[in-house]
């Protein structure tokens, strides 16, 4: 029993001297300030947007302001998340990227229904009282630190001065008392120590609450959002596989099947020629020509089938992504190099997606970028993420929202909760980064 009490007391008293406390206090200070700023911006924009949109004339402007407020809130949410990671090492993933609709009305509608943005708004609003407590905790800690130095101050500066020394004691809400002698400064130091201790623990407490808010309001999503996200990506996955099968059927129909039909026709005609009534002197030239055509069709049909089979499952993938990507790079029209650093081998489905992403990105670069060099980089991160980066030194200007290529990739990747980031300023270079989980 005594042991326990001693241990708890030790923890409580040692807390101010830990590195964690420094971080927590810094977070209180900085996070408090960003919280207040975020609150002000959000409130002003929301209030303006709502009031203006109430009047008939201002509806459009008001709506636009509202949308702007939502977008800014998403950004502010990102800022808050980053501060939490930077100072508290508290990691919360970003909510899924906004999926813009097509058409202006649909776009506006989707923006206004952007739940992640509304949750970010609510965080900004709830953050104000939290920020107040955080700033209070920081302040009393700072004052406490100052109070602790009083005995030293007295010795160094005040022993000759006349009059009392004023000590700020921040409890309950602020106040002062006077100190008239060196002995009194010890009282100030004790009060300071108490303030520091209180500020420290207050900071820890309020930050714990803030973490919860960050997770629930700035995190990926609530359960219902997750469900609708899963529904959306499941639809995509089903459509994607149906489209893939249709593509295979079309390729077979227009490729190998057609060539084999032509081959059968050539052979049939050649056989006719040979079994003509005057078979004693068959028309060698024509038969040879027909057999040549048949041979050509057989070879082409084989090539078609090989391409098709490779398109369904690249055999090189059996030896793992690095060797499959090396094979891919070797056949690229633009010189391509591969660096790979893969720890645990990803699930086969993930490997396949990564492979086809790489193939598509290389094809894109070849078609549009005028690049001289492509770099393919694939590695696993400690957080259980497989990252594929394809960089080219081309002209840039690739856009993930337009052009079905990148958008299609983004869809395919989202079916396994992956994501794509495109950095492609005009003038290049273009880097497309694909993030996939290791398990599908």
């Amino acid at each position: 029993m005594d042991e326990d009490i001693r241990r708890v007391a030790g923890t409580v008293l040692r807390a101010p001297f830990t590195r964690r406390t420094v971080r927590e206090l810094l977070y209180c200070g900085i996070g408090g300030i960003t919280g207040v700023i975020g609150f002000s911006i959000t409130v002003v924009m929301l209030a303006l947007g709502l009031t203006i949109s109430v009047s008939i004339l201002g509806t459009v402007v008001g709506l636009l302001l509202l949308i702007l407020a939502l977008r800014v809130s998403r950004r502010l949410g990102g800022l808050h998340r980053r501060v939490a990671w930077w100072l508290l090492r508290y990691q919360v993933e970003a909510p899924p990227k906004f999926q813009p609709g097509t058409g202006i009305l649909n776009r506006i509608d989707k923006r206004l229904r952007d739940r992640a943005a509304w949750r970010a708004v609510s965080y900004s609003l709830v953050k104000l009282p939290v920020a107040a407590v955080q700033l209070y905790a920081t302040t009393i800690t700072c004052i406490g630190l100052a109070d602790i130095t009083y005995p030293v101050d007295w010795v160094l500066f005040r022993h000759q001065a006349s009059g009392p020394m004023v000590v700020v004691f921040p409890f309950p809400l602020g106040g002062t008392f006077d100190v008239y002698g060196f002995a009194g400064t010890y009282l100030a130091a004790i009060a300071g120590a108490f303030s520091v201790l209180a500020g420290t623990w207050l900071a820890r407490g309020i930050n714990a609450g803030d973490r919860r808010l960050v997770r629930s309001l700035l995190g990926p999503s609530s359960m219902s959002e997750r469900v609708s996200e899963l529904e959306r990506t499941r639809t995509l996955a089903v459509e994607d596989s149906a489209a893939a099968l249709r593509r295979v059927e079309r390729d077979l129909h227009d490729g190998a099947q057609m060539r084999l039909a032509a081959l059968a026709m050539n052979l049939g005609m050649a056989r006719e020629k040979l079994s003509d009534d005057d078979a004693a002197r068959p028309d060698h030239a024509t038969v040879r020509e027909l057999l040549d055509a048949a041979h050509r069709n057989a070879v082409d049909a084989l090539a078609d089938l090989r391409d098709l089979a490779r398109g369904i499952h690249p055999p090189a993938l059996d030896n793992g992504l690095p060797s499959a990507l090396a094979t891919l790079a070797a056949s690229s029209a633009i010189p391509a190099s591969v660096t790979a650093e893969i720890g645990d081998r990803p699930a086969p489905a993930i490997e396949t997606i990564a492979y086809f992403c790489a193939a598509e990105l290389i094809a894109n670069a070849t078609k549009h970028s005028y690049a001289n060099q492509i770099k393919i980089n694939i590695f696993t991160e400690r957080t259980g993420v497989l990252r594929l980066q394809v960089t080219d030194d081309g002209i840039g200007g690739a856009d993930a929202t337009h052009g079905s290529g990148l958008a299609g990739l983004a869809q395919r990747v989202s079916t396994v909760d992956g994501r794509i980031d495109v950095s492609s300023p005009p003038g290049g270079p273009t880097t497309v980064s694909v993030e996939l989980p290791l398990k599908a």
Partner: protein, 215 residues
């Protein structure tokens, strides 16, 4: 000699067919690549028969079939041989709705046997019928007349299938390597067992058989 229009979007097959038919002394008036061009070519050349691919541009689904049905309405005297990589029961049903005269539906594979393919095309051009064995076996499988079919001997079922394909007695005889008289006996026996009115014309006979199978 037949005058033929070909509608087929794959150049390889279009040219192959043209050559095959011309080699056998027929005349290919036009070789087109979609349904609209087919109707225009038929209107212009008034051919004996058209060979039509089912899947053609722009939608690559069944425009060949739709063009063929339109053609049957507009030019009832012109035979249509559908030519496809698949047999679809619903397609053959639509095609036979307006009667079996001058209608054919063959897998593209059948072109490997040049003589048989040419014979089928000639049959269709002459107002006869040419159904792929696949079509017929699908009809057999889907037929509700299992009881009637069960009374036939295996040989009689073979003869019935060949009749359904649209073949004449002599062709059936050649195919089964039996005499013409033997075929006639089988045919008479089949018609008695199934309760069909005997009919001399190949055309009406196909229709009766198909009607029986479909019923």
């Amino acid at each position: 000699m037949m005058r033929v229009v070909i509608a087929e979007d794959a150049a390889l097959l279009r040219e192959g067919l043209t050559r095959l038919l011309e080699d056998r002394g027929h005349s290919v008036c036009a070789a087109v690549t979609d349904g609209d061009a087919l109707l225009a070519a038929v209107a212009e050349h008034q051919p004996d028969v058209a060979v039509v691919d089912i899947r053609m541009p722009p939608s690559h689904t069944d425009e060949g079939l739709r063009a063929a049905l339109a053609m049957r309405k507009a030019f009832p005297g012109t035979g249509v041989l559908m030519f496809s990589q698949y047999i679809e029961t619903s397609y053959s049903a639509q095609l036979l709705e307006g009667g079996a005269a001058g209608v054919g539906y063959l897998l593209k594979d059948r072109v490997a046997n040049v003589a048989e393919f040419a014979a089928a095309l000639e049959r269709v051009a002459g107002g006869g019928t040419a159904l792929d064995p696949e079509v017929v076996s699908q009809l057999f499988r889907a037929s509700r007349q299992r009881g009637g079919l069960a009374t036939l001997t295996p040989r009689e079922r073979q003869v019935l299938a060949l009749m359904a394909e649209g073949r004449s007695n002599s062709a059936i005889a050649a195919d089964l390597v039996v005499s013409g008289g033997a075929v006639e006996k089988h045919v008479a026996s089949i018609f008695t067992k199934l309760g069909l009115p005997p009919d001399e014309s190949d055309n009406r006979r196909v229709l009766a058989v198909l009607h029986y199978l479909g019923g």
